[in-house]
């Protein structure tokens, strides 16, 4: 896949890191909330806070969606990377949303770079009301092949958990 060349994988920049640490410092008294639970095939639970996710390699792109108005810049770690970090390396994966929406997909069919687990909309974290804080996102505008039922269905917003599905 050539997307890696077209979309710069942005390492965690100093500025972004400063922001995150700033925020983390502000809430130092309470432990950082878990944004994502990943359970691997062995039933082992892995949790990811925003800091965890930001620590992963970042991918950024701008695209419009069928659910939003205008073009939005999304950024975050690739889903595959996140799942791998969560101990999932193959088989079927179930992606789960806050409202219990679920969708299953093959791990092998998840691209290296896309989709991403978007942690930023237009450079800012986003809330549940804006389909946040995590949104599985594809670059729909630049790659027509993502404009299909499967991609739409797996663009899970209010993404809270992923688990390996027992075969």
């Amino acid at each position: 896949m050539g997307f890696g060349r077209r979309f710069r994988v942005i390492a965690v920049a100093a500025t972004v890191a400063a922001q995150v640490f700033g925020m983390a410092a502000a809430r130092a008294e309470s432990p950082e909330p878990v944004l994502l639970h990943v359970r691997d095939a062995a039933g082992q639970e892995h949790v990811f806070t925003r800091t965890d996710l930001d620590a992963l390699p970042q991918v950024a792109f701008s695209t419009g969606t069928i659910w939003t108005e205008g073009v939005i810049a999304f950024s975050g770690p690739p889903l595959r990377q996140v799942l791998t970090e969560g101990g999932i390396t193959g088989g079927k994966v179930r992606l789960i949303a806050l409202n219990d929406y679920m969708v299953e997909c093959d791990f092998d069919r998840i691209d290296t770079d896309f989709p991403i687990v978007a942690t930023r909309r237009d450079g800012r974290v986003f809330s549940i009301r804006d389909n946040g804080p995590l949104w599985v996102m594809y670059p729909f505008d630049t790659e027509m092949s993502f404009q299909d039922e499967t991609s739409y269905a797996s663009s899970v917003w209010q993404f809270i958990a992923a688990e390996a599905v027992a075969p």
């Binding site: 069928i66 659910w67 108005e69 409202n99 809330s127 009301r129 389909n131 299909d148 917003w157």
Partner: protein, 865 residues
Amino acid sequence: MKRHRPAPERPSLLATVGKLWLLLPFVLTGLAVLSANAWLVSQRLEDARSAQSDNTTWLVSQLEVEALKLSGTVDRMRDRPWDENGLPALRKAFDVYLSRIQVIDGYMRQPGRLYALHDNPDWQEILRSRDELTRFIDVPAPELLAHIDRISSRLEAMRTPLRAFVVEALARLVEASTEGREALAALIGRSALIAIFLIAVLLATSFFMLRLSVQLQRRGHAEERARSNLEKTLAASLDGVVVARQDGRILQANPAAEQIFGLAREALPGLGIFELLSPVAPSDITQVRTLRARFDAAATAEEPPSGRIVFRARRQDGGEVSLELSLAADRDGDGALILIAFFRDISDRVRAEQELRNAHDAAVRAATAKSRFLAVMSHEMRTPLNAVIAVLDLLRSTTRHSQRQGRFLGIAEASAQTALDQINDVLEVARLEGRDQPEEAVPFNLTRLTREIAEQTAPLIHKNRNRLHLDLPPEDEAQLLGPRRLMLQVLVNLLGNAAKFTHGGEIRITVRIEASELDQRLLSVEVRDTGCGIPADKLDRIFDLFETLDDGYDRTATGTGLGLVIARQAVQSMGGEIAVTSMPGLGSAFRFTARMRRGDVPAETPPAPERAAPALPRLHVLVVEDNPVNRIVLREMLVHLGQTVTEAEDGPVGIAEARGTAFDLVLMDVSMPGMDGLTAAAKIRAGGASVQSRIVALTAHALPEDLHRIRASGIPDILVKPATIARLAELLAGTAPGGGAAPRRARIDPQVIGDLRHLLSPELRHGNLARFLDEGAEVMAALEGGAALTGPARQPLAARLHRFRGACALFGATRLADLLLRAETAPDARPLPTGLRQAIVDEWAALAVDLPKQLDPGDNPVSSR
């Protein structure tokens, strides 16, 4: 050889291919439209694949679900206000609900299927209730708890518009997807139509291609068949057929060519035609050269020159073959020039032709031999017949006979004469057939000639009680220069026939003379009778040799039947044509034409005066004749006439006799075996006792050229056989004893002298006589003075003698004129015989005395100097 092509098929095939090109735009257009449609369909399918609608349906219905979940959370909150976990759940549920509204609102702001619902009042109500709820919920916990009932009622109030919106939105989505499907269906339908059209076009193309292929196949079959037929034809041909390159190298040959070239068929390709056939004769070389020229000409011309070439060639195996060859040119598959030669072995034909030619030549030779035999036989018969006639004549003259015996004698004479006439006819035919020189042209008068013939034929005409009418041009217009003898023969034969076959009728001779050119005259003569006529089936053959000998026309009367043949040949010799028209029982009309030159009107000569038969001199006569019968007859006749006769049986004996004895007269037969008479006469003249003897030639050939030949040899006097007593008597009367010099004539013709005296004044007579005597003296001096008359030097003297002879004739000096003629015509390059010279000198001496006396009897004689 033209390759066979079924002519009508060719354009149809081309037309079909042309039609196929017409289909190309249809196919291309169809393909383009189909491609465009396919693209559209794929676009549509892309839309369908994106399946916005299903997802959207889910989204919209999910809104109501989330609203219900929020209501549920609120209700649980109302039931258990103490539960401290209830508030975060409520906030979370509200967040989710808000996110749903946010999503749908964003969705509806985009151009799409739900855009029209953007201003929907239900939706506006939902948005208003959202803002209200937000104000109730986004507050600290205690206040939120206080708002719980109002939140509940507000959610309750919102349920109806929410429901209405969801239903409306779903209806819209269903409708939109239906429209999309229909559009897609239409698109696919259109594609199908175009595809069907294209398939039809392709089917049509295939059909044409199939037809094309079938036609090609059929043509291929036809050509294959034609080629096969041709090959079989050539194989079966009796003529050798050879296909060759332009340089003569053989490409192919048929089986018949094997026999012509004498080589196996397989060995022929690669060999050169010209090397295989070497010409035999020079004429064959020319023919082969012509053949090679045609090969060369084929390179430039489309078709080589046509026409057969026939030549005889030697084959490789040494055999000779006669070939007939024709040539055709064509191009082979590569367009290279090829020549197709057709050889025919005509050896058999050539052999047959040669045999035919040989047979024809043999037949002609045989016919010629027969004609010659006939002529010789006739000639040989003439000699005894002459003897018969002469002996009958002798019998009549020397024997006393009764009247009855005289009548028998007459019959015998007439029969002999008829036989002689017939033989002369046969000889005349042979002569006319074999002649290669034109008949001698002499001046004559046709009108006079016709009258003479009419007079000669008068007895026969009158005997048959016929009347004769002559329609002739005036005499002064009828003077001609031409073959008088031929004209005479034609007229005699035609008039004789008319007289013979007409009884109690009328015969008319019409003669017309036209001037065709300045000096040329075209004669047309018609002899018409009212006789028995000629049957139509014989008309076209009566002029043919031997045809008339069979039966009919001429046979009924006397004659050989050769008259008309002679007439035809004579007319042809005169450059004219002869034709006959006849009606049996009514009569016949013979017409002929002839071409001659105009003749000069001769000076009127008075007829010679009748002379009384003079008393015969007693002479010594030498008879040189090889035929014993003729010799005896001549001797007897001469003895009867009172002459002394010496006989010689051939030329040498005659010469010996003449050398020893001075004869007065020598009768010399011209045709003799060994030495002929003319040679013998020349030898007698050359020296010996009889140098001055008069020599008379005896011949059976009365033809002008024969007489001319004899005279040219120096013998002016000719006795044509048969010799009769009367003619011998006449001959003897003109012969002087001793010299034999002057013939029957007097030294001076008294008639001429009479005329001169009558016509000229004495002064003129004297003047002319003086000049004549002077000239004579000069000539005599020349004769005596020089051995001049020998060799080339004689020439001027001969001219002077000739001129002097003319003068002698003018003064009636006939005897001297005759002597001079002999001197003139003596053989060239020989000395003038001494006897003749002496005779001339003596005669001149006598004349010079006699002539002045006779010319002027009363006057003083003019003496010669």
